[in-house]
């Protein structure tokens, strides 16, 4: 619950964003972010809510850890936590 998951914003509709997580599109809520969010930005998400816009310079370093975790064994606790966070984001509107 503490790890969260980063994703790239594809579009913004009011306080809801469609965000790409490793090729999977989900909706996350923007009520808690303290900066304007635009398509192309990366946000850090916890239980379905973005809590932070990740500074552009730090995106690579942030993603590297998650790339490694998602490549881990299916039973890995950290991988499961990241996948849980992905489960927290809603399916995109059709």
């Amino acid at each position: 619950m503490c790890l969260g998951v980063p994703g790239r914003v594809l579009s913004v509709d009011g306080l809801t964003a469609t965000v790409d997580f490793w090729g999977v599109q989900k909706r996350v809520m923007l009520h808690l972010v303290d900066e304007p969010v635009q398509p192309g930005d990366y946000v850090l998400n916890h239980v379905g809510y973005a809590i932070r816009k990740i500074p552009a310079a730090d995106i690579g370093a942030t993603l590297a850890l998650y790339d490694e975790l998602l490549a881990g064994n299916p039973g890995d606790l950290m991988r499961a936590d990241v996948e849980g966070e992905l489960g927290a984001a809603k399916e995109p509107a059709r």
Binding site: M1, C2, L3, G4, M29, H31, L32, V33, D34, L44, H46, V47, G48, Y49, I51, R52, I54, P55, A57, D58, A61, T62, A64, L65, G72, G75, D76, L77, M78, A80, D81, G84, E85, G87, A88, A89, K90
Partner: protein, 378 residues
Amino acid sequence: MTAPSPHKLEFRDPLKAKKLTARLDELVAEVGRDPVSVMHVCGSHEQAIARFGLRSAFPKALDVVMGPGCPVCITDVPEVDEAVALALQGVRVATYGDMLRVPGTVKSLADVRADGAAVEIVYSIDQALELARSEPSRELVFFGTGFETTAVATAAALLNGPPPNFSVLSAHKYIPPVMEIVTEMPGSRIEGFIAAGHAATITGSAVFEAFVRDHGVPVVVAGFEPLDILAALVRLVELIRDGKREVVNMFPRCVTREGNRVAQEQLWKVFSPTGGRWRGIAHVPNGNLRLTDAWASFDARQRHRIDVSRLWDFAPPKLLGQCVCGEIMSGSKSPRDCALFGKQCVPENPVGACMVSSEGTCRIWHQYGGHLDLRSVA
């Protein structure tokens, strides 16, 4: 060999890792005490330390212990009882998956679900809201657990207008006050804290300044990469060596001094801090987050008569008396000191909460091993 196989010690930047571990060795030697004890308060930090085999790279005299950083684990027995009682009373209860198997006095939510009670697992409060909306004639209680990072989501969801059949049973907890309690415990040898990066994203690093001033123990905010953790430890031991009482933010890519004010504003609109017990640890003044009076109609404790006394007619499981989860979370024992660990207490059949949650010390050590000496493996 049946022990869980350790992950290979791999860093994105091995050279940097080597420099940091060498520096850590020097600094701990300069402090000259054995052990130098520091505490982190985050399940994700423990996962990273264990998963990447970091302890094997720490100097022998550096003791890095996990404190009360697992939100599921510190959810107290009476709080689980409240959720269990509600489910037994016929209310739908939705909660995060890790809460399902956490033992109450006699039963967990998983137990009553197996008996037919309506207990739903959700990944987010918004999924609980959808469940409530899908059956408007039936009451749904969201059993909200977790620290700052999940509490702000609960706050935002309530401010966003929940349906009338929805309420929250808050077991949300607030990290800064428990650091004071653990530091002041008799026999505590904690000389410094590593603070959790993402909780601090919300609160800001400034939240620790009063603690550092009042308790004389430095705090370093850290990220979750192995290198982040190593760098934070280097800085922390440096502060300890120099006797400096400071808050240092080593995770500036996510954390500012002020934190996320938008999220803080919503948090304190909905919640107020109140004292309460953290499972196995102590009563923590201001450590629990309860809904403010303005939100009474969405507070499950105000809205429902929760009858927990019906649970007390049964005897608690005998093994629970031997569980040392509380001592583990306050840093005075490790899972190796527990007679049940890995024997009667395993992830498939947990006795204590620390073996239930993926963020619990025992569960993490059970998966990755806690203190493997990778120097003999590498």
